[in-house]
């Protein structure tokens, strides 16, 4: 894969904003269009940008490893199931919204009808959004990493070297 200096710099500038936008979509899932699945997909897009802009070997050496993403994905699913099970333990049934309008975390009472929106409402829904968000982020990133591992790509030194083969072929009669 040939990614020049311009692509690498632009990717480095854009990736934090993509991550922040994805986290915004996850956190505001109960107020605005979006939610865990969509926000997780947006964050995974940022990981894809990192993989395209930098070299796979560099990514492996520095900060990304597929095992960590698997851990993130499993943690998301376990958080999802545990939040749902807590409804069975603390309240009446599985998936009961035990945090809604309780005054605690995410427990503010919502005003009915059209309103401006309060981030700390909706009970367990933001928690489940976050769980699903990190699960989708981890899962799609694992798929991307394994698919990129199968690619045969050039190294950074080969890309940055001067292309001198074409100059020699042009001189042939």
């Amino acid at each position: 894969m040939v990614t020049g200096l311009i692509g690498r710099t632009a990717g480095r500038l854009l990736v934090p904003f993509i991550f922040i936008f994805g986290f915004y979509i996850v956190a505001h899932g109960h107020l605005s269009p979006g939610g865990g699945f969509q926000g997780g997909a947006v964050i995974a897009t940022g990981v894809a940008l990192v993989l395209v802009c930098y070299y796979y070997r560099e990514c492996m050496e520095h900060f990304i490893e597929a095992k960590n993403f698997k851990l993130i994905e499993s943690a998301g699913l376990i958080l999802f199931i545990c939040t749902a099970l807590a409804g069975l333990v603390l309240a009446s049934s599985f998936f009961f919204n035990w945090l809604n309008a309780s005054g605690g975390l995410f427990g503010n009472a919502v005003s009915y009808g059209v309103n401006a929106g309060d981030l700390f409402t909706a009970g367990i829904i933001p928690v489940l959004n976050f769980a699903v968000g990190i699960e989708v982020f981890g899962g799609l990133s694992v798929v991307l990493l394994y698919m990129f591992a199968g690619l045969k790509e050039t190294t950074k030194e080969e890309d940055d070297a001067e292309p001198h083969e074409f100059a020699q072929t042009e001189e042939l009669p």
């Binding site: 107020l31 605005s32 269009p33 939610g35 699945f37 997909a41 009808g113 059209v114 309103n115 401006a116 929106g117 989708v136 899962g139 799609l140 798929v143 394994y146 698919m147 199968g150």
Partner: protein, 115 residues
């Protein structure tokens, strides 16, 4: 006639998708046909739940007294999209492994499965 355009588009898309799945022998094109079929089903679900002059079913900053479109089909569409992505990734990985083993993605040339 023109008011039913989404449903007619759904029928035509399903026809195109079945044609791709049945007539193509390239496995990647068959998977693309499955993707088109998924898109047709999503379009069908969303257009089933549409109400005239409806807005998105979100109360944050919505105009007062506006009819909202149906939310259940949109939730089902969300489910369908995520599962479609997962299964498409799995099928593409299968095709990659098949190409690595047999050297072809043509479904007719893989004689090993027949003999």
């Amino acid at each position: 006639m023109i008011a039913n355009l989404p449903f007619i588009a759904v029928a035509l898309l399903i026809g195109i998708a079945f044609a791709m799945i049945l007539l193509k022998r390239n496995m990647i094109k068959m998977i693309m046909g499955l993707g088109i079929l998924e898109g047709a089903v999503n379009l069908f679900l969303v257009s089933l739940g549409y109400r005239e002059d409806g807005i998105a079913p979100i109360f944050t900053g919505a105009p007062a007294d506006a009819a909202m479109v149906m939310p259940t089909v949109q939730a089902l569409t969300l489910t369908n999209i995520v599962i479609g992505v997962a299964t498409t990734a799995l099928m593409l990985v299968f095709v990659m492994l098949i190409y690595k083993k047999y050297g072809t993605v043509n479904a007719n040339e893989m004689r090993r499965l027949k003999e």
